[in-house]
């Protein structure tokens, strides 16, 4: 890479710092394993790990505190491409996505590829269609971008209203999974743990906003990579003799098929007309074999699932806002490339993880007696993630007597493989870490949208910088309190919330962003029509099938309601734009300017001119 002319604020030692962080993590795990062999109690292991990890997170978050508007909202536009890629990868998946993908592979086998490829394609679309142009515009939020593109404050307000719901959905899903996994290693009451998790989430971003978020998420991605890939790689060495699980788990397929047949999982006849059946969050039995092509990868089902997730991921506000944090447009594109690289590593390992988990579960648990069970399996059974009951009094566990919960699958691998407790705790805490990373990203983008966009959507004059930051902080506390209250409110299915959220934000933003960047004729009325119809169709469909008890239309499950919302938003935007007058010359110049990579960031220039006037 050619050395950029201006790199004002980038710390050249960041790479070394994060290398230190990773090696410290490894050292901690090795140390704890040693201590465990010496006979230290489980509680003190838990405590050490939790204290060290939360101290690291909080010190990064609080250490990056700032009152500068530019630093708070876009990290001073000085994050280098690879670190921005780290944050993109972790906030696109979050704990919900990661855990749910592993669970879907475990229960439904190859159907999960439809979701996984949607994630991948979403990143490609983001890199080529959106990232460079959003970076040139440089708005702090997506509604801010639309306001600038269409020169309309009412559009900004409208977009915020549509984007609050999906952000709240993901925030709740992430908090829920964070609390669930934290409760496995902390012996407090559920309410206390939820307060603790909420406190960590708030504390880590309240100081420095986007700046804190960047460094926390980099550290947490490293934690997730270590926490998931370390047990997986060790198991791969034990089972296949090579430390690259992503390429070696194929050698287990023959054994896995034999195991599945002997424990009574039969291949059903492929049903192509049925909707993709995603596993629910409750306890359920393994019913389908891994290597079976069923409804998920064929025709209509694949298109529905794939397009919904692709649209949702490529326009997720949390990810698109991150384009503004890079140094220039080249770096913005490159950061998405790094993001897809890291995401690729994770989603390549996900099926390997599920196959290894299924293999050792069928091999070691099915058919064993109760006193042969792995030592730490009580972690899962006590928390309701696994249920073992000898219903036919045979003394052995049959497959029919074992019920798994979807979100517990991610933790099953190190437990059933009988790894040292420290490694198990590391995996559990890395899920918590991913949840904190996802929740902080959503919390920050939600509070930025609510304060900045609602305030400046209603009043024209931007206040002094410090107040702007303080208002965001107050909103952040309010939102987090509300979210913690909602998490305690009732039992929710994290995957469903995530997919609803992707459907909603995809249907609201994907058509509008495509049109507003790539079609000059697209005007304000088209944008409004597109946002309203996309959001309304999706929400109504979810409400109609979930609450009012209606039946599915066109074989689309309500988790993929975006498949109805996206086309209607495209059609409405197109039709209304053509029926109303064309864009003004001023807007046309903005569009022209947006498409050229050189020159000053448009948002910064407008802000500079506005402050000079006062």
């Amino acid at each position: 890479m050619a050395i950029q002319a201006s790199q004002p604020n980038v710390n050249p030692r960041l790479g070394q710092y994060f290398a230190c962080f990773t090696s410290a993590l490894f050292a901690l795990v090795v140390l704890l394993i040693l201590l465990e062999q010496l006979g230290i109690a489980q509680e003190s292991l838990n405590l050490t790990m939790i204290i060290v990890l939360s101290a690291l997170t909080l010190s990064l978050g609080i250490g990056a505190s700032t009152n500068d508007v530019h630093e708070f909202f876009v990290a001073g536009r000085s994050v280098s491409a690879n670190f921005n890629g780290f944050t993109l990868a972790i906030s696109s998946l979050g704990a919900t996505g990661l855990v749910a993908l592993i669970g879907i592979f475990f229960f439904r086998g190859l159907d999960a590829f439809a979701l996984e490829l949607g994630w991948l394609a979403g990143f490609i679309l983001m890199a080529v269609l959106f990232a460079p142009y959003l970076r040139k515009m440089g708005a702090f939020t997506i509604p801010g971008f639309l306001q600038f593109r269409f020169q309309s404050r009412s559009l900004r307000l409208l977009t915020v209203l549509a984007l609050i719901l999906p952000a709240v959905f993901i925030l709740i899903a992430e908090l829920r999974i964070g609390i669930l996994t934290a409760s496995l290693v902390i012996n407090f009451q559920y309410q206390t743990i939820s307060l603790l998790v909420g406190l960590i989430v708030i504390m880590s971003v309240i100081g420095g906003g986007m700046r804190s978020l960047t460094w926390i998420q980099c550290a947490l991605l490293l934690l997730v990579l270590v926490g998931f890939l370390l047990p997986l790689t060790i198991l791969a060495i034990l089972l296949t003799n090579l430390p690259i699980p992503q390429l070696t788990y194929g050698t287990l397929f023959d054994d896995l098929i034999l195991l599945e047949q002997s424990s009574g999982i039969v291949i059903d006849a492929p049903v192509t007309s049925q909707l993709i059946a995603l596993p629910h969050s409750g306890l359920q039995k393994i019913q389908s074999p891994f290597l079976q092509y069923s409804s998920g990868l064929s025709g209509w089902n694949f298109i529905v699932v794939f397009s919904c997730i692709m649209a949702g991921i490529s326009t997720l506000p949390t990810l698109l806002v991150r384009c503004g944090t890079t140094l220039d447009i080249y770096e913005a594109r490159k950061s998405v490339a790094w993001g897809i690289f890291l995401l690729g590593i994770i989603i390549m390992s996900v099926p390997a993880y599920a196959v290894f988990a299924k293999y050792i579960t069928l091999k070691d648990i099915v058919g064993s007696t109760f006193d042969q069970l792995p030592q730490w399996i009580s972690l899962l059974t006590d928390s309701g993630q696994l249920s073992l009951s000898d219903t036919n009094q045979s003394g052995n566990l049959d497959l029919n007597e074992i019920m798994f919960a979807r979100d517990g699958i991610a933790l099953i691998l190190p437990i059933v493989a009988e790894f040292p407790y420290s490694l198990i705790a590391l995996t559990i805490l890395s899920v918590t870490g991913a949840a904190i990373a996802g929740a902080t990203a959503q919390l920050l983008s939600l509070s930025n949208m609510i304060t900045d966009d609602v305030l400046y959507g209603l009043w024209r004059v931007p206040g002094p910088g410090k107040n702007r930051v303080i208002i965001v902080r107050v909103t952040m506390c309010l939102i987090a309190t509300g979210a913690i209250w909602l998490v305690n409110f009732r039992d929710l299915d994290g995957l469903k919330l995530l997919l609803w959220s992707l459907s909603l934000s995809g249907a609201t933003l994907f058509p509008v962003l495509i049109y507003s960047i790539w079609w000059n004729r697209f005007n304000l009325f088209g944008a409004m029509a597109s946002i309203i119809s996309g959001f309304a169709v999706t929400v109504l469909y979810i409400w109609f099938t979930e609450v009012a008890g209606g039946s599915d239309l066109f074989g689309i499950s309500n988790m993929f309601a975006g498949a109805l919302g996206i086309p209607s938003a495209f059609i409405a935007g197109f039709a209304v734009s053509l029926m109303t007058p064309s864009t003004s010359q001023k807007v046309f110049e903005i569009i022209e300017d947006m498409r050229i990579p050189g020159g000053e960031t448009l948002y910064d220039r407008a802000h500079r001119l506005a402050t000079r006037k006062h």
Partner: protein, 86 residues
């Protein structure tokens, strides 16, 4: 007017590049899905071939494509002198 046409050729180049990235990926994706069961008759390092392409091949292709796109677009920007005074 001269300025406009210079942007025009840059814009056409950008669009061709973007379209080629997207068509490459989607053609590969669709053909991987269509020929999935046909390719599964062959085996490579223990995997059925179709499965391997779906699980690893497409991801590697996507990562390579995006890095290639970043590089080509950067060259295009330089060629049309779009990147001065940042």
């Amino acid at each position: 007017m001269n300025e406009r046409s210079k942007h025009g050729s840059y814009w056409i180049g950008t669009r061709v590049l973007i379209l080629s990235v997207l068509t490459t990926f989607f053609v590969c994706l669709v053909s991987a899905l269509i020929f999935l069961s046909a390719m599964d008759k062959y085996e490579l390092i223990g995997f059925p071939l179709g499965y391997l392409i779906l699980s690893n091949g497409l991801i590697i292709l996507a990562v390579g494509l995006v890095f290639w796109f970043v590089d080509r677009q950067h060259r295009l920007d330089h060629k049309h002198r779009m990147i001065e005074d940042i």
